[in-house]
């Protein structure tokens, strides 16, 4: 039964969503969006989906927030009226959004009761993967293809960011060199929080086998810690031409593909794991994926290569 907490949460989310839409300043809208993402994570938690909640907090609140913040920061100096959409354009966007929301609502309301679900099947076959967390079983075994393609999409996003670089900066270091007071609060935070954050990130990845967590959430945490050291000026972003960096970027999808092709050669199908080796294989993929996710997300947030200096 939904209680007062759930109603309060729902009302707060609707209010936050409305505020994000009507906010006049980019920065205020981004702040609203971040708060909205964190509230959404609480909603997922109330719905009993801690895996989704962790992802939402890390990606929806944290990562997208940082990306949008840096976008808002870049747009601050440009004339705000340069590309204003007119009244008709705004109306069309509002109508489209409302139509999509209405469509989703209709689909949700017309679901048969009880809603069709594969959860019991996933739960029943969880033993085959040797993992205690059915969500990880689904992600890494039953629908591993989707998970692999997600990682490729991440890589494409990074290629998109890099492709904005000017020709002479291709392969250079991303973003501006951050400088912060080495005795200031940001450097202090980076020195104290980053070791703790790395341990928590690795724990979230490791515990994903049996508890809520996994490669994506853990990798995002690691990326955030990397970004914090870069922003505090404790470490510079690496040149994007560096070979080891690029190997780390493709490690996840490459190991996934290799295991998948191995399944095709030795087993029944692409990405079919032999049951005896399911868990070690999944673990190998997850380790490579965590590395790739952390490096990819860190570089996406670090931004467009802007500096071409000799190494």
């Amino acid at each position: 039964m939904p209680g007062i907490l759930d109603f309060g949460l729902a009302a707060l989310m609707l209010g936050m969503a409305g505020w994000t839409i009507v906010a006049r300043k980019n920065l205020a809208a981004v702040m609203g969006f971040v708060v909205y993402g964190l509230l959404l994570a609480l909603v997922w938690l109330r719905l009993g989906a801690p895996d989704v909640a962790l992802t939402e907090a890390a990606i929806g609140g944290g990562l997208s927030g940082v990306l949008l913040l840096s976008a808002a920061e870049r747009l601050r100096d440009t004339a705000p009226t340069a590309h204003r959409i007119g009244g008709a354009g705004r109306l069309a966007a509002a109508a489209l959004s409302a139509a999509i929301a209405a469509g989703i609502a209709t689909a949700f309301v017309s679901l048969p009761e009880p809603a069709p679900t594969l959860a019991p099947a996933a739960q029943a076959n969880g033993g085959a993967t040797g993992l205690g967390n059915p969500v990880t079983s689904v992600l890494m075994a039953f629908r591993a293809m989707d998970t692999m393609l997600e990682k490729v999409v991440l890589l494409l996003a990074l290629v998109g960011v890099w492709s904005l670089a000017r020709d002479q900066c291709w392969g250079g270091r991303p973003g501006p060199r951050h400088r912060a007071d080495p005795r200031g609060p940001l450097a202090f935070l980076a020195r104290v929080l980053v070791p703790i954050g790395i341990v928590v990130g690795l724990y979230v990845f490791w515990t994903g086998a049996d508890e809520p967590g996994g490669a994506f959430q853990g990798g995002t945490l690691l990326a955030a810690m990397w970004l914090l050291t870069m922003m505090a000026g404790l470490a510079d972003a690496p040149p994007t031409r560096r070979r080891r960096l690029r190997l780390a970027l493709v490690a996840g999808p490459a190991v996934f593909l290799l295991v998948g092709l191995g399944g095709l050669l030795l087993g029944d199908a692409f990405l079919a794991y032999p049951v005896a080796f399911a868990k070690p294989l999944i673990l190998a993929i997850e380790i490579a994926m965590t590395l790739t996710i952390a490096v990819t997300l860190g570089l996406v947030m670090a931004g467009v290569p802007e500096r071409d200096e000799a190494e």
Binding site: G184, P185, L186, F188, L189, L193, I196
Partner: protein
Amino acid sequence: MIAFLGDLLTVVAVSAGLVFFLAGTVGLLRFPDTLTRLHALTKADTLGLGLIVLGLLPRAASARAGLKMVCIWLLILLAGASVSQLIAREARREGPKA
């Protein structure tokens, strides 16, 4: 007797924590500029949250769960204090009416 003392600690500490949260929120809404608003806010997330964690400790399912709550409080102390310092520096650089 021990259980009663635990409950008493919970009620007193959580209530005191809520008072700090209320005061912090009122200050955030009513104070005139960024620095005083930050001052009000950080009382809520340091002392207020600390008191609430203290009050919830007797109700923790295990020593491990209690330790986790204390760790969360310490992390929020660290993050809250550092971030408010950063915001305050930014506000001072941009001028008093930020």
